[in-house]
Subunit: 509 residues, 2 copies
């Protein structure tokens, strides 16, 4: 059985092993009834921990591809068909079903398997999920928002439901001008474009600025949706390292010099996933550097509204005298991600181009959502809700930190974000958070393994804990579970075997 | 003064003349105070009608670039600055304002000037606009829709406002399965993807299927938003001629043979702009051809719901046994374009890919709009509204045809669509509808000049009249005005001079 592992891949090793074995069964390289090697032997051959192989086998068994027989070993099942329901059939098997076109020949190859898709396990009921950085829906002021919807539909329903301008609904642009002024950004209406959330703002920016082969500098680790956008646009991605103590400015300087990127995407406030922020001095320095290198800055300020403690610094756009910053933000973290409304702020010629790209992408953003949010904002309710949520999240951050302090074994550290929705945890080097996730899921907790956020030089011993969606007690229980798991794992690793697993009674093929 | 005209461009000749003179002034090639040639002379030199040059000069004068002096001629103005307000500054002038980045160097060059942008004149109040193919907002059941919004926000507000699945809100997908069954399309949930209207469905399809240089076959003329999408994706566009009597099947056969396109975009029902439809036999033949040539068909059925008279044929997707059709539709023509909700129907592996492209484009579609439309649909109100609108549009189509019959001079013909929102008019070869539009606007009517819809082999003597948004009386008055204008124009052309213009008292430079 030939397997080849890519240690730089965002996919954890056990996923790579699982997928390769599954593909070999599906394509007939491994035949029905054939024996597969014991975990210990395969682990030795591949130079990985035995838990890693055991995790892969567990999933293959659950999907119905392999089965163990006590005293005889593990075999490819006679049916070799995935169990109904949650099984993932390999791509080849699916393509075979098509009796018309071979779609796999027609579809543009994906830049890479979407790591988020393959690593977002379905959480059983009752799971304590630290996985997604989403606002807490328990606090959504649904009734107030419903009233805002009624107001705008009664007042301007026909206009809202008719086709509208590509750059955005005028009432929302007006309200945003005020909102931006609070952040120190004074702009005219022709410097704002409404988008379907920040994700589309990134996509439009990539379409307007990036041609295949252009160098694009991104923080590493970073929100994977940003990687996906710039990679799909054909960008040559170069990473600016972000460490638990923040962005590596020296590395950025070197990178601007050497890679000559056209675009630099930055998250100065509460960076996702690390939670780190840029100081005022660093913000100023980066603007100077970008001006000197004539690189466009795309500023992702999606967490900017969630300032929780310590000094609050102005966004780059507020300090940007030469107009080189394209600023992106959205309602998704401060109130309702389900509505998909975001905005770009940039020089008029950039907005004009983004508008024409937007028009070709989807004509314009939903006008009911735009008008209702404008109404909601104008009546002070966005500000009021945000004030409440800052209080809630500040408390949850403190509870998270208290629990980490109490539960984490020695050798585990975490960032101290001044805002946002998540804490970034670093485990001892020997641990891979994506493998621990596998065990954690069984125990009823989920988190985002660090691999998801690196597009190069992955540090598998990292993970992101999003605290925003969990109540104090859930946070405490979840982190206690995680702590227990990590302690057990570290104890077992010292003993040299995986915890809680049967001996695999299989022989080498 | 050196001007070069491209008769194949989608831009009308007078726009080309206007823009080139404007650019020459802005860049200093034509200097302040310099005399420009009389319309008659320039027209002779360029081989165009004098009206064409006069139209260009009129716009330049309105924008403040040139001024006439009685008895002396026409000159570049001393200021050579555009008048405040509606003037369009050339790109170079704008780029000069930026004191930071030269954005024009960073922005990806646009595939072509967006013809719709430059040709959609702002309509003064009271204008009878046959321009856009939009539903009549006067009939929008705003109150009923408001109630649907209330129902869903009360029932599932928190869930709606929270982030949701990329493939669509489940309740809407369920309702669409029923709706599609009425059209003869029976599919599972994993064969449907919700998009932000048809425009995004086109964009996602292009992103999933087209790589730079891939041949893409489009109807010609066609909805310009489709051209924009596939051109931006780097597609090599090849045209399938659509004539007033319908798609040229022989040309399609040859094109499939020779150009070997990867994708064929078709509008079998009430094609935009021609209003023509494919017969059942032609639909079957095209499916055979596509299967034989292994080309993916993208079926745009956005007007399909607006069947007004005569036989109604099933969409290609309903006849598609081999799964080669990607079917696109939307709520934009049957009810509310302001909400931006559309859908794709395709083989599961195509939907799976489109979903991942959608996720990278904007995560998902607005959930309030999706849920409210599902509720609106489930309660039978989409069907009820559509039934009413079919009646209204059928009547308006008949009024349009009656007025055309009565008002059009000899030599003008038009299509007889069985559905949709527009009639396609062909003028005598000597007339350019985009120049007549210029005069028509002054008289208070607007239409869409045919050039907008051709991406090759433009036929400038065509125009599209969208009747959907006008009342019977407005249609009659508008077409009477158009008829009068055309008669005057044809009379004047026979006499060899443009109607209603002063003699330009200028000398050749």
């Amino acid at each position: 059985m030939l397997l080849s592992l890519d240690r730089q891949s965002p996919l954890p090793l056990f996923v790579q092993i699982r997928d390769q074995i599954r593909d070999q069964i599906a394509s007939g390289i491994l035949r029905q009834g054939e024996r597969i090697p014991p975990t210990r032997d395969l682990a030795t051959r591949l130079g990985v921990h035995r838990t890693t192989v055991a995790n892969a086998y567990d999933e293959l068994q659950a999907e119905g591809w392999i089965a163990g027989h006590v005293g005889r070993g593990t075999f490819v099942t006679e049916a070799a068909k995935p169990a109904a329901g949650n099984a993932r059939k390999p791509e080849q098997a699916r393509a075979g079903v098509n009796n018309g076109l071979a779609w796999s020949n027609l579809l543009v190859p994906e830049p890479a398997e979407e790591p988020l898709e393959s690593l977002m396990p379905e959480a059983p009921r009752g799971t304590l999920s630290f996985l997604a950085a989403r606002p807490s829906e328990a606090f959504f002021p649904v009734e107030d928002f419903r009233r805002a919807c009624n107001t705008v539909l009664k007042r301007e329903g026909r206009r809202l439901l008719q086709q509208g301008p590509s750059d955005g609904y005028p009432a929302l642009k007006e309200w945003l001008q005020e909102w931006l002024r609070e952040e120190g950004i004074s702009v005219e209406s022709n410097q704002i474009l409404i988008t379907n959330g920040c994700q589309q703002a990134l996509d439009l920016t990539a379409k307007a600025l990036v041609r295949p082969g252009d160098a694009v500098a991104l923080e590493n680790p970073i929100y994977p949706g940003a990687v996906s956008v710039f990679r799909r646009a054909g960008g040559r991605l170069v990473g600016v390292p972000v460490r638990p103590d923040g962005l590596d400015l020296q590395a950025l300087e070197m990178l601007l010099e050497q890679a000559k990127p056209k675009v630099l995407l930055l998250t100065p406030n509460y960076q996702n996933p690390t939670g780190t922020s840029l100081t005022l001095a660093v913000r100023r320095r980066i603007l100077e550097l970008a001006a000197a290198h004539r690189v466009a800055i795309v500023e992702d300020n999606i967490y900017g509204g969630l300032h929780l403690r310590g000094p609050a610094w102005p966004p780059l756009k507020a300090l940007d005298k030469s107009g080189i910053v394209i600023y992106l933000n959205s309602f998704s973290k401060i109130c309702f991600p389900g509505l998909r409304v975001g905005w770009c702020v940039a020089a008029p010629e950039v907005i004009s181009r983004l508008r024409s790209v937007k028009q070709a992408s989807d004509l314009h953003t939903d006008q009911l959502a735009q008008a209702a949010l404008a109404e909601f904002g104008r009546s002070g309710q966005v500000a009021r809700h945000l004030k409440l949520m800052r209080k809630v999240y500040r408390r949850r951050l403190e509870v998270t930190e208290g629990a980490l302090e109490k539960q984490m074994p020695e050798g585990v550290s975490w960032t101290k974000p001044a805002g946002g929705m998540a804490v970034w945890v670093t485990l001892p080097r020997s641990l891979d958070a994506s493998e621990i996730l596998f065990r954690a899921r069984e125990r009823g907790i989920l988190f985002a393994p660090g691999r998801l956020f690196f597009f190069q030089n992955a540090e598998p011993n990292t993970l992101r804990l999003s605290f925003a969606g969990l109540e104090d007690d859930q946070i405490r229980r979840g982190i206690a579970l995680l702590g227990g798991l990590l302690k057990a794992e570290m104890r077992q690793r010292r003993k040299g075997r995986a915890p809680g697993r049967r001996e695999a009674a299989v022989a080498l093929v």
